[in-house]
Amino acid sequence: MTFSGFQLLRNALNGGTGWTPHWRKAEPKPAYDVVIVGGGGHGLATAHYLAKDFGVNNVAVIEKGWIGSGNAGRNTTIIRSNYLLPGNIPFYELGMKLWEGLEQDLNYNAMVSQRGVLNLCHSDAQRDAFARRGNAMRLHGVDAELIDREAVRGMAPYLDFDNARFPIIGGLVQRRGGTARHDAVVWGYARAADKRGVDIIENCEATGLRSEGGKIVGVETTKGFVGANRVGLSVAGNSSRVAALADMRLPIETYALQAFVTESIKPLIDCVVTFGAGHFYISQSDKGSLVFGGDLDPFPSYAQRGSLHVFSDVAENAMAVMPMLGRLRILRSWGGVMDMSMDGSPIIDATPIEGLFFNGGWCYGGFKATPAAGFCFAHLIAKGEPHQAAAPFRLDRFATGRVIDEKGVGATPNLH
């Protein structure tokens, strides 16, 4: 079924009885041209673009739980392309452009909202760094505006401008940035891929990667062996575990990141705001809850929940920038496990095993990358060579010294 105003009206009148499931519950066939391991946003987007843009329709996505049960359904939904380094900006801007056309492409309401992303600065040095970042963005054709304190006050009057330690002196705004509804992104890609013949196989865990003579021949799963001579791994926080099935060690450590949601209030925050003197960011969902987050837990973790002391730290950051938050109750908190790479940048590349491809190392910023990562990974799998925008995201860049160190903090993943 194609969604349209007419369908909406028709189903409003017939009690919603005309809506059909968005994708089939598929069981694995003996073999496919391509198997994607991991039914998060990235895996599903990869399948969609493989079928739509690269003519590869005989594709399965295998997911150990239900699709979107990983980070795709746990993130704080921020999308932006306000990066600094040449390796990153073109990729994230490709993503931003795909977001802008996503709902038409998928025929699905992903609630993409370009409400703007405001990064606050609190010192002259930080303002200089923002000017540099903004200039780098503009040189790449990305929108960026450096604004002063009064302009920030115009956008977000409720912030603590005169905090003795962290006064707000200005900000960098990307007006095309914003948020998208994470679950809808998963469902939209799943539905669009399914329509083109992709099998989405849930409750099916990859337990082995079978290769012969250095070439991949298929995936062992909890639903039996599935043959394929091209396999794409897109398993986020579980990257190291799945790569270990093929005896690979990755430049990745896994950490838990938490998010928090308050009770619903009337419209207050109409953009995304990030605190520049600590790690804290906040936006308001369409239901009215404030959604916010901060730092990772400091030690590697596969637990999809975080520590209380990190929550206290996030709360202290919140109070430093937006003291009125102290009067709100927190309704829920949860965690996801992040594939933290050693330079803070992702990997989209072939592996030493022929036909086995890897997409991961997204750290805590991979939701915004969903469309671009899917498109570039599909390109790599279909053509055997990287898409230009993702060419720097190589697996061997740590050995060759071509790291993409956006934050300049070296090989300590929990600092990124």
Partner: protein, 95 residues
């Protein structure tokens, strides 16, 4: 989370900082420009086992005795199976 420091006894997590996977340093005496030595450095600096399960890691008792410890912890449950001083546990640092 309580960590049983061999020197100070059971202390709260917040007194410690974590440095990550406890692994052997590459051999500094080897020919540093050889292919094997470079691969060893890349391995030590960038590559990780990153297991879901038992993990040996270095922790510093920063707000306590300042000792470096080797701690074995389950990365799924954060259960701690033991802490020893790095100095007295050269084996721990190597494995």
């Amino acid at each position: 989370m309580l960590i049983n420091c061999p020197y100070c006894g059971p202390r709260d997590l917040l007194e410690f900082t974590v440095k990550g996977e406890a692994r052997a340093r590459p051999d500094a005496a080897a020919d540093l420009d050889s292919e094997a030595s470079r691969a060893g450095f890349v391995d030590a600096v960038y590559l990780r086992d990153n297991p879901a399960g038992r993990h040996k890691e270095h922790w510093l008792h920063a707000s306590g005795c300042q000792s470096w410890l080797v701690i074995e912890r389950d990365t799924r449950t954060h259960e701690i199976f033991g802490a020893s001083l790095v100095a007295s546990d050269a084996e721990g640092a190597k494995s």
